[in-house]
Symmetry: D2
Subunit: 480 residues, 4 copies
């Protein structure tokens, strides 16, 4: 009952007003963060002698008991307007008056900022791990498909021959960039907000650096007025998640198309092919469709927080509570998506014959032929026109480029020699693009090495983020 | 078990794939819609003799039992990938093989479209009722505050004198426009999708018009391919909700500012004033801040669905399942917000003295004085300049305009007569704006009458939407 | 110079501040609207004897001269902070002091609202015309392709046989819904804002109804405080445009896929097929890709205005000026897109053979077979399973469903009779779906009739919107 | 004419299709980027002996001539579908056939990616410079206002005493975080895309590292398929710009409120105060309102590109051209906004007396009193309740907290000693919060030092970005 009378506005507060303003249903998900944050705070208060050490220990231990009770399922935060008050009320019920000491030199404004930063920090770590796994999986597939040839597409038209490894590395490169975005978000979240009170700091002799070290943050936030109204770290996370979701949507569009009867490049295993309630013949790529669709909420969540923040006065405003809805769901949703994508990738089989057949039917080698002419000294624009004429002629006669007789070519431009003609083999085409970023095997090997290293770095970075469990363990034992 | 084997992709489907693609957790909220829709479908099948009447009756009655069980809390949809399959499985457990007849001439594609349209239709009705109540409340307040004078603001600067009734009517006019937007959304939702099957219709001799009449839709959807991929009705609802949320945010900005010490126009009653965990003196307008903040998710939800729909191939794609997350939450959130706003408005007291004092301190009557000059034949631009000079002079000498001696004015322009000077009284200023849309009492009376009528119309429209309970009752008894 | 000294803040205003706050570059596009609105205003002032009739006539005629000068290219608004001031300054240069009368009983707040409403009203009319043309074109194509058979797709997998006419009607139905959205936006824009002054109305004896009738608006806005801060009509337009752009993106995804080598359903004519600077063989559907991409700005514009409006205090705030950027570009962009789509549709040829071939290779008739079993009294779920088993067996043996021997089918279920087997013909499948919204020819004919009527209605509605030229002509001659 | 025939799709391309697909109007803004990129490309081709050195020099010099002609205003790109083709056509007109060599080993897909990256890189530098200036200005003001006392606000209610320096540092801290976001965007843009051709690389013996070094990029993009379809660097920029715009909107809300008659903390100088066309007394903060409103387009632009990218197949699709509209305008808009904000900040005067008066009227020292009690050993919750009771009593009796007689306090709690009472002085309150991030002078000094350093770093980073002019100069002279 502490909460309802003291914090939320007195006993006269209308029950509907309390229900409407309460964030408990959502921020129950922040319980661990709240307990760990409070433990660190009270340890600091004790060390600074703002509280008697024995009182500080009692409160710390009481918080530890709540953690264990929650884990055992014998207690859950309830009956208060938010998780902070629910914890304090439970503490009061167990410890009596000494529980009242916990809120010394602290406001819910800096407390919730701490909980959200702890949460976001952990979500960044999870995202980095998920991306590292995803990139690793794509690289394994690339290893396996170094020789699977297929057309690349621009404008959804067959463009040039590539290996499947090249296609896989492209997506690995996208996801590797997402690692950097989450790394940036992690860096943003990695500052301790606690100690700035409601907005101005506190006159009590706290030491923020002690709390910082206990919770393993890299730095302190700089200014209290800014700190309590700042949700940039959450925006950064939501942005990274939205960008990543858009990348996933692109990969899924490719996979969904590849799985169609028309492309036929990919066959879904029974583990992921979904049926239809009305059409018994269907093998639908629902998993990839859902993943594509989930770019909607990811972008929507980012927009949601941007709108909430827009035009707010500086400092804390209760509008900020709407951060909860998006922040608490975006991280777990992202990780679930990455896991589902991993499952999906593990259950597609590429049909090497159909991939290759798509290359042979068309004119995807045209650029290679043109470049071979250029290699003989023909200006590119002239080469381009000669090949264009040839392709048009071949199409008119219904001939794939690979079957055009050399004489027909020579009649168009004298540069079409047997050597030039040799460029029509797709595997040769892929192999000849030896420059950085190209399709050649050595270039692919370099790409894979770089990507593998990015994945390793992301994994290492993620592992460096302290877990809540680890913090709890340490804070349970640390001296006061 | 029907569901897992037949619909979702065979027994080999990976449990994680099933879990990821399952929508059950969300669409459990569509249970009533699903049952009512299925009852209407099976009644139609029986009447068309596609099913034996006794079989149709058995299935219809079985669905009715599920409704009652769900209401009694003895059954809830579980263990299947979506609410449709959960219902069918429960039916199978109760009725045996005859349950299998339910899915005749239907696909989940048209079934889910039906459930969502029934849901959206009901949400539109709720929104209309909530808005009607809100507008009525604003009008009651306007009635009470016909004589409360305060400054209007442009650029957050005091502009001209108005009555509080005028301010309240402005917001009532906004919300009255929102009624039209929900009316538009309701019209969009009010078409029966059932009967178009997976995408192409069915060769069985169904009669969609029978189902339409049973479910009281105004019309049929026109084309099956369009129908199964169409979520425009949901977009329309989300748009109306977002626009309304932006209006709420504006009203709340005004109220939050008015409740500040600086304005002091409004005092929050104890029923809604929130405290601070650190600053005991605070009486915070949290309820209005949260309402302002909730414009974030409202806009985010609209963006979410727009992104999900963007670029999808025609027809049904599983991406559409992401509609559930936003559609199912946006309606209830909107209604909760309208209720909270109603509560909030019932718990603000306007301080008439401070409102009036804000008028007297400044120069808000300047336009009136200029217009009085114009009434004497002075060109507006000349009148404007004369008053501008006067106001500048008054400000320099620290005089509110109402205390400027007439001679000082006359020295600037001869048109400043005693009669012109009479326009300085705010109440007179407000009363003189007799045109449509102005602040004069007769104009306010007309505004209020128009708004009252809009509210009545919205209420009537909402009551015309059949409730699920009403549909259930009728479908339970209707002859087959 | 009137403008710079009087309106924008005195002669001391910093040139950079003036440049930054000036909207002239954008709202020059509102010149016609501004002139017409001012002409109506001054005619009303004259009729009400607020101005001497001869003065009113002089100003009205001066405005008319500006219109003609602008049309002749001899004058353009310049040198002032916005189009309103530029017009007044030009008028002053031509008429002298009498020009100063124009601003009597008016504020730029209601004036810009008028200009934007006139603009939006016209854009709605243009959008309706563009959509009517588009739907008509789709229906012409549908007429032509009543017998072109192709698979419909769900999950980008072949689903059931349809005619191309059915596919075209689906998109026509989408765009027909867009007409309703623009109709709604038009209704929102169709209210005269002029006469509410800066925020509170005016004490001069204007008659808003006279102005309303002169400008052919259906009604007056209700409340001045609401009116000057209201941009709902612009939001409604932007929403309709965004929804329409998403529809366009879906049609384009289909067309882009259909134009791929893999589908091969569509061939682009030389009039729209784009090449590659590097790959001579390409025939790229750039036009459709760009149209798909333009859903981005359309949604972005809606988002932009929602964010600008969020949390604004009631009444006019200068933030609203940011409406200009999106409102002025969204309408013309939409119309350009609709025209481009029309051009694109006129330059695609469907390859009937490849469309048909896609039907024959697979098992899209499976639902028909299942429904034929149901027609013989087999429960749907049993029929579904029998067909599923059959399809699986056929796929295993590499047989398209149409070539499966009847005995093989009978071995699975005795219901597979010769009559049931007759359902394998795609044309028969399409024809059998006779219900409303289905693929059958009579259903298609009804769909087309309904859509044709929608197009006619939209065209009529659009033609009912007065043109600026028409208003100008009438206002030039009307008696004062 | 090269362009129209070769690149865009042959001479039969419909003029409207060409007009619709042309990006020239927008990407004319990329002319310098395009020229510099082409110069580097041709230098590399010459050094690699893919072109004859003399030909390479001729083309390079021709490009240089175009730069000078454009600068002199004697030539501008025109008559072609995009800036790339316009440059090539102009080159052809001047040099003849040798111009055709320029496009060797290059596609417009990698070329436009280069232009956009060069553009974005420069915009990041400009943003960093603008932010550095802004932060420096805020710090200058903070220096000046170390002793200006005012209330901080939470929930728009007076909270605790702070100095204006503290408030200014809060915003400086926000903008300092924005520097990090632009730094991140700059890092993303800082990779050379050229050399990956249309999608797969090239078989010609180019050396991407030579081009990279010439254009001073830090690294090469990794994979061609990814490179040509990647706009993450643009998204990163748009995100940073949107986040920054939201920060600006918050600062402006504070300033607009502070400039109201009710707050009266700020007076606008004549250089930025705007007037009203109808109300002569107004001194409107239009500049700050517009800046707040411009958060709309900033967020809308981000949304726009996210939507365009969503669901695209991998590789290049023409949809990407829609990047131009937002990328080319967002950077300049951001910089204009930062300059306007700088101007605005230089033209506000804080009214120290009114700021201080706002502190004295209320109970903002309540937390200090409570903390003083805690300092004497009273548990925080007890102290909180005692102070709450006291504040309520004072308010009831109409007494500001500072005037409450000590006995009245002592009657509530014995801890209210004279020493505790001494905390009522706001300056003391501000000075006592000595912890990091608090309001105390030493803390402020540390904050300012940190922020000053951030500004210096941003400036340095920005200066490290090569200018287009610098690149042009170097490329004009470099040996081939």
């Amino acid at each position: 009952l502490i909460a309802k009378t003291d914090a939320a506005g007195g006993p006269q507060l209308h029950p509907e007003a309390l229900a409407f303003t309460s964030s408990l249903e959502l921020d129950r998900a922040l319980l661990k963060e709240d307990l760990v944050g409070s433990m660190a705070h009270v340890v600091m208060l004790g060390r600074q002698r703002i509280l008697e050490p024995k009182d500080a220990r009692a409160v710390r231990d009481g918080l530890g008991q709540l953690w264990l009770s929650a884990q055992a399922g014998t207690w859950a935060p309830a009956g208060e307007e938010d998780v902070h008050m629910a914890v304090e009320a439970a503490l009061d019920a167990r410890l009596g008056a000494v529980a009242g000491l916990l809120h010394t030199a602290r406001s819910r404004n800096d407390q919730v900022a701490l909980d959200l930063r702890l949460f976001t920090r952990a979500q960044c770590a999870d995202a980095l791990k998920g991306l590292a796994q995803l990139v690793s999986r794509l690289l394994e597939m690339a290893q396996e498909h170094a020789d699977t040839m297929l057309p690349s597409y621009t404008h959804r038209q067959r463009a040039q021959p590539i290996s499947l490894a090249y296609w896989l590395c492209a997506y690995a490169a996208m996801f590797s960039r997402d690692m950097k975005a989450f790394d940036f978000a992690l860096d943003g979240a990695d500052a301790l907000p606690l100690g700035v009170g409601a907005i101005a700091g506190t006159s009590l002799p706290i030491d923020r650096d002690v709390t910082r070290e206990l919770l393993q943050f890299s730095r302190l936030t700089e200014n209290g007025l800014d700190t309590v109204g700042d949700r940039d770290f959450a925006l950064d996370f939501l942005y990274a998640a939205a960008r990543c979701a858009v990348h996933v949507s692109r990969l899924c569009t490719d996979l969904i198309d590849f799985a169609s009867s028309e492309f036929g490049f990919v066959r879904l295993s029974d583990a992921i092919a979904c049926g239809s309630s009305m059409m018994p013949q269907k093998r639908n790529p629902d998993l990839f469709e859902l993943l594509r669709g989930k770019s909607g909420p990811a972008v929507g969540d980012l927009m949601s927080l941007l709108v909430t923040l827009k035009g707010l006065p500086g400092g804390y405003n209760r509008d900020l509570q709407e951060d909860r809805r998006v922040v608490l769901s975006a991280g777990p949703a992202l990780c679930a998506n990455l896991r589902a994508l991993l499952l999906g990738l593990g259950n597609v089989q590429f049909d090497k014959e159909r991939c290759l057949a798509a290359l042979e039917g068309g004119a995807t080698q045209a650029t290679d032929v043109a470049e071979a002419l250029v290699g003989l000294g023909v200006p590119f624009r002239e080469a381009y026109q000669a090949v264009g004429t040839l392709v048009a002629k071949a199409q008119k006669e219904g001939l794939p480029l690979s079957t055009v007789p050399l004489e027909m070519a020579r009649a168009i431009h004298p540069g079409f020699t047997a050597q030039v003609w040799g460029t029509l083999d797709p595997r040769g085409s892929v192999g000849r693009k030896v420059n950085e970023g190209g399709t050649g095997p050595a270039s692919i090997a370099r790409q894979m090495e770089t990507l593998r290293q990015s994945a390793r770095l992301a994994q290492t970075r993620a592992e460096g983020v302290p877990s809540l469990e680890g913090l709890f363990k340490r804070l349970s034992e640390v001296g006061i």
